[in-house]
Symmetry: C2
Subunit: 418 residues, 2 copies
């Protein structure tokens, strides 16, 4: 016997969980579409060189990479932004000048599972490619906010910064790119390790104590850049409440590829960390296209969003039930035909119905069938026994109300349809 | 510069294709649910030993397998039946006694791409676990047929056989299991290599000429088993036209794990091979559970289904268009605010709308915006220039009819909603 087990950090989603996930995906898709974002799908496997070097050393370490049967070095999707960038470069001539796409697919990272992290998880992304208008940045933030509203969240905070604010000048010279990335990575840990932690990190990186302290001081005092001010203005025009978003000079974001605005959304009623984050990355596509193509987008943390929705009870109650509305029981082998006719009619009328598929015992034929309906939380049961056949009726059992009544199939169908 | 490229046998789905795929998935889900099948998701990676040995030597060869960072041997999903079997064994106590699930996820096989095969492709499966009633087999076949109908297929043929019919007796003794699998694999190639080919294959497998010919003769003459007759009866009661299904004694199916009924569905109007296939596999789950658990199910070949739908023009025409109904243009930086107000109102009224995000030139401001609407095949365009602002109207351009009219936003919204 082979032990049935899932790999650490990987999960099965049984129907009750899977239904919740579909609910969130459907809601997000509706909002994404309402803003004109179109679906895109990319493969799970990419050439290794397409993915490596885009997420920093940490990313390369956590990436699932291997050699395929044809001796090609391949890697599993690590996020959806790099594959999108590859797609934009590859199909430049087939895509509209401004390309708005959404993508909802799993990604893989060999994270430390002891920290409660998963190694396979879904990301939901929206991105706008081919424009550097601040209206595009505002729209990405707006679609994220409208998505959270559609899922039922009432109180959330959008923290916004500009990567420009994380660039520093020493002796009237800009610090080189590598040093700047070190600063961003250090500041990114501010919430976890505090100010002294960030300064220590900078010291380890080789900055002098004087400069490290100066950076930490300066970063907190920075003001919104002119580009940010334009975004803030557009956000209001796009119907995003002023109290929902805020300038956050110490927001840094982990990924290397951001070049302009960066933002994160935190649910205030249930602080699990950010449920959504994104920003502008004007140089990434150029690595594939050979010319600069501007881009801005964001990504929803699917698991955190679901976790927060569960805590705040934002899922509709009937998601807990089966999607089956009615179970048609079989009273006996003789009367089976009548039950089959009933299930056919229900399905024809677009009512989700099941017929009992297990063995029907002669003694107590309904016992197991009722148990099955209970297990699956099917709200209604139809019984067609000898009496019902004689009078051309059916008996309906309402499983929640624990009541039952005799009626006709037609009347029941009309009632359900209302 | 990194060359933007996809791996051989892997595909990107740009919006127009992705919309078609979503259309098919949505239709299938609706039918699956109407029969009481519930969603399940399993991980892309499994322990290697979970998957190997279930699909024959060929399967083991085509499987994507590697060692992960933690030195575990892992494999990528090869089909959805084996992961389902693992899930049923693993969560026996949490699942209803009869478990009906559907699953729509990609699988990976390192197929020969020269034969036009893909290495990453989606499967859509429905399975019923925990009953050996022929009604369950009939229902799986019925849900497949109803799914094809829902997608618009009018003429298809369901070929049905019983693996019992592929067992042979020599000198009054049943052939051993291994020899039986050889026979099944040989007969499975009948359509491709013909009768003589099958006989040759059997000779290569070590059967005598006499027995090989006898097998080939006998297999064609076999009759429906009693179990099959019960399924045929139930199929009619479930509303499946008698002319749609047929007994096919030479149908074998490639996979090792089938134990009873097997079936395939071919679209008669567009012969691309079978679009759906399945059968009963009563021993597979036992390999994980340690006790026999009956199971029957089927799987849709997603790509073939889409290919056939395209050939038969079964996709709704408007799938070719963007999901955006209207593009609100920006006439000038001064009047931008008016356009933003319009887009907000449209979205509030649940109309999918876009605002132009590119640069608005002073000279010919609308030229690029009209081009964008054309590229994305957006049916309506709203123009709000100085004249419109003065008269509190908007100009609507109908892109298909190449006509335009002045109206109010309110009137336009009411018209679209109808």
């Amino acid at each position: 016997m082979i032990k049935p087990q899932t790999l650490k950090g990987f999960r099965d989603f049984l129907p009750q969980e899977a239904r919740k996930r579909q609910y969130v995906v459907d809601k997000l898709k509706t909002v994404f579409k309402s803003f004109g974002f179109e679906p895109l799908e990319t493969p799970v496997l990419e050439y290794e060189e397409t993915l490596t070097g885009k997420y920093g050393d940490e990313g390369d370490k956590l990436m699932y990479r291997f050699e395929d049967n044809g001796k090609r070095r391949v890697a599993m999707r690590y996020d959806q932004t790099v594959p999108l960038s590859r797609v934009v470069a590859q199909y430049q001539n087939d895509l509209p000048t401004i390309f708005k796409r959404y993508q909802i697919q799993p990604v893989w990272r060999a994270e430390n599972t002891q920290k409660g992290r998963y190694r396979e998880f879904v990301q939901c992304d929206v991105d706008t490619i081919g424009t550097d208008s601040p209206l595009a940045d505002a729209e990405v933030i707006a679609v994220a906010a409208k998505s959270l509203e559609a899922l039922g969240f009432k109180k959330f905070k959008i923290l916004i910064n500009d990567r420009e604010n994380l660039k520093f000048i020493n002796d009237s010279e800009r610090l080189p790119e590598e040093e700047n990335i070190m600063i961003i990575r250090a500041v990114d840990k501010l919430k976890k390790i505090g100010k002294d932690g960030v300064i220590n990190e900078l010291l380890t990186d080789g900055f002098s104590k004087e400069i490290a302290e100066k950076i930490m001081q300066e970063v907190e005092r920075r003001n919104p850049t002119p580009y940010l001010l334009q975004i803030f203005e557009s956000l209001e025009t796009l119907g995003i409440d002023k109290n929902t978003f805020t300038f956050s000079p110490t927001l840094a974001r982990g990924l290397d590829y951001y070049t302009g605005v960066i933002f994160e959304i935190e649910v205030e009623e249930y602080p699990v960390g950010s449920v959504c984050g994104g920003g502008r990355y004007d140089k990434l596509i150029g690595m594939f296209a050979g010319r600069q193509i501007s881009a801005v987008g964001c990504s929803f943390g699917f698991d955190r969003t679901i976790e927060a929705m569960e805590a705040l009870k934002l899922f509709p109650e009937d998601l807990a039930n089966s999607s089956t509305t009615v179970l048609v029981t079989i009273f006996s082998e003789n009367l089976k035909q009548k039950s089959l006719e009933a299930i056919n009619e229900l399905r024809k009328q677009n009512i989700n119905g099941e017929i009992y598929l297990g063995e029907v015992k002669e003694k107590n034929p309904l016992e197991k069938q009722l148990k099955y309906a209970d297990q699956k939380q099917i709200p209604f049961i139809i019984i067609i026994g000898p009496e019902e056949v004689d009078t051309n009726t059916i008996t309906i059992k309402n499983m929640q109300a624990r009541s039952q009544e005799k009626t006709t199939l037609e009347d029941f169908i009309n009632k359900i349809k209302k």
